[in-house]
Amino acid sequence: MQKGLSAKRIIKIVALFVAVLVTSLFLQQFILIHYDSNRLRLEGFYLEEKNTIDVGLIGSSEVYASFAPGMAYEKFGFTSFDYASASCTPTASITQVKEMMDQQSPKLILMEVNAFLYGVDSQGVDVNAFKDSSIRNYIDNIPMSDNKKAFLDEYIEKDQHIEYYLPLIKYHSAYNDMPDSFKYMRACFEQKLRGNTILKGFKTRTRVFQPLQKLYNKEIQTDNKKAPLSPTAEAEMKKLLDYCKKEKINIVFFRAPHMIDENTVTRSERTNTLEELITKNGFDFYNFERNYTKLGIDLKNDFYNYDHLNIYGCEKFTEYLGKLLVDKYNIGRTQLTEKQEKKWNNAAKSFRKLYDYSDDLIRHHKKYITLEDDPKTVEIIK
């Protein structure tokens, strides 16, 4: 038997190597992924036609629970997208802004500031800024780009970069999520086939939340106390403000309405600190947590949990914010092609159906479920 490497043997080895590589890449791209709501929303954002979004909303879960792009389009005629991930970190904010600008260059960016309001633990470490799951909720679900690379270089240890370039290393055990993840897997595939999202990142849950603890929302309306931001949050906000000034980015900051209990009073005091920092730098800031009554938010009816508005709260919030954007920031009805207009009209119609369906579940069936761009919801609202 010939001992050396013949051409035939080399071909066999290379074929094996290629087969393993192709299979691995296929699995990494389509199967062994951590499919969840964040992935569905962020993937959806990159399916939107470039430069067709007028207002980009950025931040954490408060964004996609509070603002309904479909309703905003129906009422005010501008297009928008909830480009947000659950428990977003302050370190991701600049990347979110850059990605939004690169993909859509919207007329205005609206940033919800929850990411900057987490405190520090007993060791003085920011409780959320370096939390792996919070980082990954966003960064793992956006495509590789210069912005993503810059994020990795700045915030992720060098020896861990490989996991972001080859997510299979991290997520090869995603088979453990199956079959629960099939819902999102299917939703992502269908969304890709459709070529756009229906709810434009919006997500809600069907409940009217009744808190058991005492709420402090009234008290904080007049509370001007300022609690310190975490060092990371403060540094990242300053960096973001400098960046936005330098790049002349039209950005407005806001705090979404929340139910405030004794545990979150300090958080609202941090909002005061943050407001001062932002406004001192010449940017607008709206504290809807403090001024929730202006929006007509009813604490007894408009939340599905402490931190998120339900469909009724969302309707009020979208109405108020939409009007503000039109009146104060001149965000008018956008120019769309016929095809684009059809899609957005469909988004508006779908949101209306979703609203009715959600209302029905809350009022008549007391059924607590999640509604988003998943196949079941899409089936109902399309």
Binding site: V20, H172, Y175
Partner: protein
């Protein structure tokens, strides 16, 4: 650099490329030496002085012993006619003493380093406890000591070489760099096998040509090692660690199941690591000895230790068991017993005959126990195994008598199966000392085995751990079944390897088998930040 890391695969590929492209065939061993030094330095350069010391002291002592032997032979040859028989005998004996002294010096030095680094704190702690119990106010300080990578393995291997040179069964190494390679060869530095100089050294120094079949078989062995280590052992380890971290909280059934899982984990981990080591060496044209021969199919604990960690067993047999069993003390004790009244009975004849081997076995296993770690639980582990072996030797006539009286055919399948289960039970009891945090917990475990068996509670406790999914349990089960089937095939056809059997299959089957095995590692392996991959269990020794 872990054997299961991507870095290690690249490291092996680069070493392989340089080795086989190195123009001077006779000097290809220098590539292996450079790679071994690099591998060791990457693990931690502070360790390096210890391995260098061992290599240098072993090299010089080998030469020294050889010089004494050569000088002695020369002297005897030159004075063949002038020396009387008695003078020659006396001179030979003097030479032997000198050689022995030199050998003892290097053995004490090297085993002394190992013992100090590994056991100092254990002895200091035990001494403090003992003196404290007598009310003496003395405290031996505990030191922050680190254990250099592979110190047990390279010390045993080097000292084996010294004894071989002393016994003149192996020639001394003349090249210090070749000695350094023998001591530090990277595929075996983490967990062995402990090779004989006569078996390994010449293979290291020969310049091997690339051989596709060896490459293929080596790669297949590495892949199989990865499957055992990354898919089965490390997954099982997650569960075992979860129990051992809160050992006292679990019922007898949970601990029983954990010990059974540990038997799977330990075998998959250690044999998987050895397969990777042997596979890498095989690619370079070097055949390292197999450290395992389906140990769980053993019919006696004695056989088990001939099939488990074979190289350590062989080392202890060569360099400890025989010297002890054949020592004058033991031979004389045996003779003395033979001359007593008891010695004249049938039982006495048997006992006096097997006394040296049985006591030597106990001593060997005490060493095995202590080698496993500096803790009383490991001493107990040694006593348990050595004690069982000692008793089985001493009581063999009684067992044989019972078997005969019950008309049991010792070669029947049923009896073989009984022997396998009996041995497995003894092995599992020994493993309790391994997984229990200390000797006291090990004793508690035995009590719980009999008093706290509760299957529903076990199910609940495993469910509460919530660290492995049902799919993970299924993977462990399938993995165990796979190892069993492979072992069964190997047991039935020991003359050929599974790889040789695969070779005879059509190309598509061979190709798909390797492809499937790689994909199994990629998908089901424990690696990445989603998991905490475990170090090789035997790396700590």
């Amino acid at each position: 650099m872990s054997y299961t890391s991507v870095n290690f695969i690249f490291f092996v590929l680069v070493t392989m490329l340089v080795y086989f492209l190195f123009p001077k065939k006779n000097y290809r061993w220098t590539v292996l030496l450079a790679a071994s030094i690099f591998f060791y330095l990457v693990a931690g350069y502070t360790y390096a002085m210890f391995i260098v010391f061992t290599a240098v002291s072993t090299f010089l002592t080998g030469l020294w012993i050889d010089k004494i032997a050569r000088d002695s032979k020369k002297y005897l040859k030159e004075n063949k006619k002038t020396l009387s028989r008695d003078e020659k005998k006396k001179f030979k004996s003097k030479t032997k003493v000198r050689k022995r002294l030199v050998m003892a010096l290097v053995l004490v030095l090297n085993f002394g380093i190992l013992a100090f680094l590994k056991y100092y704190n254990f002895f200091a702690g035990s001494l403090n406890d003992m003196l404290g119990s007598f009310g003496m106010d003395f405290s031996a300080p505990t030191l922050k000591l680190f254990l250099p990578l592979g110190i047990s393995f390279y010390t045993f291997q080097s000292m084996g070489y010294i004894v071989d040179v002393y016994r003149e069964t192996t020639p001394p190494e003349k090249n210090p760099f070749k000695m350094l390679l023998f001591v530090s060869f990277f595929p075996q530095i983490i967990q062995g096998p402990i090779s004989l100089h006569s078996q390994l050294a010449h293979q290291l120094y020969e310049g091997h040509e690339f051989d596709f079949t060896r490459f293929k078989h080596g790669a297949e062995l590495i892949i199989w090692g990865f499957v055992k280590k990354m898919v089965i052992a490390d997954r099982t380890n997650i569960l075992i660690t979860s129990v051992t971290d809160n050992y006292g909280n679990y019922c007898g059934s949970t601990l029983t199941f954990t010990v059974i899982l540990y038997s799977l984990q330990l075998y998959a981990d250690f044999s998987g690591g050895i397969d990777i080591s042997r596979g890498v060496a095989q690619i370079f044209g070097i055949d390292m000895i197999d450290n395992f021969r389906r140990p769980y199919f053993s019919k006696s604990i004695n056989e088990y230790w001939r099939r488990w960690h074979i190289s350590l067993g062989a080392w202890l047999k060569n360099y400890l068991f025989y010297p002890v069993a054949m020592s004058n003390v033991f031979i004389n004790a045996s003779k003395k017993m033979k001359n007593t009244r008891f010695g004249n009975t049938a039982a006495g004849t048997h006992v006096s005959k097997v006394l040296p081997t049985s006591v030597a076995s106990l001593i060997v296993f005490l060493v095995v126990g202590i080698w496993h770690g500096a803790d009383w639980k490991y001493v107990a582990f040694g006593v348990w195994n050595g004690g069982i072996i000692m008793l089985s030797i001493l009581l063999k006539p009684i067992f044989d008598g019972i078997t005969a009286k019950l008309h049991i055919n010792p070669k029947s399948f049923g009896f073989s199966l009984f022997q396998i289960f009996r041995t497995l039970l003894v092995v599992l009891v020994g493993y309790v000392f391994d997984i229990a945090p200390n000797f006291g917990y090990a004793m508690d475990t035995f009590v719980k085995f009999f008093t706290d068996q509760n299957i529903p509670l076990m199910t609940q406790q495993y469910a509460e751990m919530n660290i492995l999914s049902n799919k993970d349990y299924a993977i462990i089960g399938i993995g165990a079944a796979l190892i069993f089937v492979v072992s069964l095939i190997q047991e039935r056809h020991p003359e050929k390897t599974i790889r040789e059997m695969i070779d005879r299959k059509p190309f598509a089957v061979r190709w798909l088998t390797v492809y499937a095995a790689i994909m199994v590692i990629i998908i089901f392996g424990i690696y990445g930040s989603g998991y905490n991959a475990a170090d090789f269990v035997y790396m700590q020794f």
